[in-house]
């Protein structure tokens, strides 16, 4: 008997009992479908997290001021300004792993156009900030170093602010808005960025030169930076080096002895992103493990039914042996039946899993991340399940004594 002949033979045996064959496959179908959909959804979640961190900025580090301590109450980082403008210059100058750094001063301020007003986060910064946060200009242009030097009354608006002040889709470049009664010229708008994982609207923002911010909105604190410093490392791999260098520079500048704690804090957002990614990875792994367990359960179902089938078809097996089937051929026939069950279930499961993953991804508005390798792997795994769990029943069939098998009812 050639191997190619076993497949139609198996197909015929399975089609003789369609309902049972389908119910047996169901275990594998569900197993494979869940592997595919779980992994796809997990990958989608991972892609979204990665996207969120990309939106926050590239290789981002944030330097915060130290904490106040009044009467034993620790005020938390940033509550007491300890960062100085000299610190910023030193970071820009001396930290080798730092690409650019920018001060970020911010305050809630009400903006007024001719017929509307809107309170938003107004950020005073330098042009480097656009680079750090990976902000792109949709219309007009960003402000320049010259604007920072001259304290130019120019502003770049996020899309939400544009919509609130001028209406959706209006180009506000060249128009004038007022902050605290001071007229500002809108010179650019930001490309939409959407929401942060916490639901914060990245587009609800207005940005102006840091000098203008200090002159017109917050008031200066002399040598101290009344905000944070945002830093971009030269590459994702350099964020830890950048962090260490910044800490060194600031400890020097602040003349901290080795016994003193840092009076500032450097947050590495890449670290956070990595942690998040690890989290989703672990989740994906967990989901896949559950799915694999269900596949194994499906395999046990196949073994169960194949054992029943061997018992039921004992007489048929006896006949096949009498007319010349070798034990090896009988083994092969039942093994092929089990594998056919498992792989047919695998194909249906892959199809179902892909559809399911699409639906779930759409519902959760995750990016679609179908992994073809996962589909292949789970299909092969289902075949393996067929071989492993089909072997015992097939071996039992092949070891039957033809005389006794023929006599059985």
């Amino acid at each position: 008997m050639k191997f190619s002949q076993t497949v139609p033979l198996a197909a015929r045996a399975l089609l003789r009992n369609k309902t049972r064959s389908f119910l047996t496959m169901l275990g594998v179908i569900i197993g494979v479908a869940s592997v595919i959909s779980m992994v796809t959804v997990g990958e989608g979640a991972k892609a979204r997290v990665a996207g969120v961190f990309a939106a926050m900025g590239t290789n981002l580090l944030i330097v915060l001021s130290g904490s106040t301590s009044s009467g034993g109450m620790m005020g938390g980082f940033g509550s007491m300004p300890t960062l100085t403008w000299e610190d910023l210059r030193a970071i820009r100058r001396d930290a080798r792993a730092v690409r650019v750094a920018a001060p970020v001063l911010s305050s809630k301020v009400t903006l007024r156009s001719e017929d509307a007003n809107w309170t938003t986060a107004v950020v005073g910064t330098t042009p480097e900030y656009f680079q750090i946060r990976a902000l792109t200009i949709a219309r007009g242009s960003p402000f320049s170093d010259a604007d920072v030097d001259s304290g130019g009354k120019v502003v770049v608006l996020g899309e939400t602010v544009v919509t609130r002040l001028f209406g959706a889709g209006v180009d506000p470049v060249g128009r004038t808005i007022r902050l605290r009664g001071v007229p500002f010229s809108v010179i650019g708008t930001l490309q939409r960025k959407g929401q942060s994982p916490m639901g914060q609207d990245y587009d609800d923002v207005a940005m102006l030169p840091v000098s203008t911010f200090q002159a017109k909105i917050q008031g200066a604190l002399g040598k101290y930076v009344p905000g944070i410093i945002a830093v971009s490392a030269i590459s994702p791999d350099d964020t830890y080096r950048a962090q260490a260098q910044i800490i060194g520079i600031l400890r020097d500048n602040h003349r901290l002895t080795s016994a003193t704690e840092d009076d500032f804090s450097v947050r590495n957002l890449t670290e956070l992103a990595t942690a998040q990614e690890q989290g989703t990875k672990a989740l994906t792994g967990l989901l896949a493990a559950i799915a694999v367990v269900s596949l194994v359960v499906g395999g046990i179902g196949i073994m169960n039914i194949m054992l029943v089938s061997v018992t039921e078809r004992t007489r048929e097996i006896g006949l096949r042996m009498a007319i010349g089937a070798t034990p090896g051929q009988v083994l092969l026939q039942f093994l092929v039946e089990a594998v056919a069950l498992a792989t047919t279930g695998g194909v249906i499961g892959v199809t179902l899993g892909v559809v399911l993953a699409r639906v779930v991804a759409e519902r959760l508005s995750l990016p679609r991340a179908l992994r073809v390798d996962m589909a292949l792997v789970s299909f092969c795994f289902s075949a393996l399940v067929g071989v492993v769990f089909g072997f015992y029943p097939a071996r039992r069939a092949s070891r039957l004594n033809p005389i006794e098998a023929l006599r059985s009812e």
């Binding site: 008997m1 003789r16 096949r320 007319i323 010349g324 089937a325 034990p327 051929q329 005389i403």
Partner: protein, 249 residues
């Protein structure tokens, strides 16, 4: 076993010497076959008779290479098959033997032609040749117009004829039949035995087990077993089909 001397045919297809089969049942040892000697020439039509427990089924199983003897020698068409392993025995059954059973043993929900093709499948014959040979075999048993019928759509006699077609499709040296008419009425029995006679007259060697003397009359030689021994072995002028039913009527 004096009967062996009465023939001088040069080509024995079955040669059995000192064939013994014992079963151990607790403390007692049961001799199902006890030093049986038997020689069957090519082209004989042998009926094996005996009451239940006489050892005739055991003998058929061993002659059919379904079982191995405890002792003794079995030479089938010049080849000693008494010490083969299970796979080798399967090959011998497939290439040299054809089986017909009392209860037909056709695969249900499978067409007559596919049933007949089964031995060819295990012989590794290609599908075109299988179809051609199975059709020829079914035509030979008079079922050329029933190729696609399923066993459930056929009468008992027709089912047994499908089984006979399956037994001869791989051109065996011997056809072994175990109570082939046991499940059939006398008229259908007649037809089936007539078919065996036709196959026999075309040169096939046939052995069959029966407990009905009437059926044994169709054979050219009748062997009777009792307690694991051959007690009678006679050659006879076989009664041709039709004679028996006329005689009975």
């Amino acid at each position: 076993m004096s009967t062996l001397a009465s023939t001088s045919a040069p080509r024995p297809v079955i040669e059995v010497e000192g064939l013994t089969k014992t079963y151990e049942l607790g403390d007692t040892v049961l001799h199902a076959l006890d030093h049986v000697n038997l020689r069957v020439e090519e082209g004989e039509f042998v009926a094996i008779m005996g009451s239940s427990g006489s050892g005739k089924s055991t003998l058929m199983n061993i002659l059919g290479c379904l079982d191995l003897p405890s002792a003794g020698r079995y030479v089938l068409a010049g080849r000693d098959v008494s010490k083969l392993d299970r796979s080798e025995l399967a090959h011998v059954r497939n290439r040299m033997l054809g089986f017909v059973f009392q209860s037909f043993n056709l695969l249900p929900r499978t067409s007559a032609q596919e049933n007949v093709e089964l031995p060819l499948v295990y012989a590794g014959v290609g599908s075109a040749e299988r179809a051609q040979r199975s059709r020829a075999a079914l035509e030979r048993v008079g079922l050329g117009d029933r190729l696609q019928h399923r066993p459930a759509q056929l009468s008992g006699g027709q089912q047994q004829r499908v089984a006979i077609a399956r037994a001869i499709v791989n051109r065996p040296r011997i056809v072994l039949a175990d109570e082939p008419t046991g499940n059939l009425d006398s008229k259908t029995s007649d037809q089936v035995m007539g078919l065996f006679q036709a196959l026999w007259s075309s040169g096939l060697t046939i052995l069959f087990v029966t407990h009905e003397p009437d059926v044994a009359r169709y054979a050219s030689r009748v062997i009777t077993l009792k307690d694991g021994h051959i007690v009678t072995d006679t050659r006879q002028q076989p009664r041709l089909v039709g004679e028996l039913s006329k005689g009975a009527a």
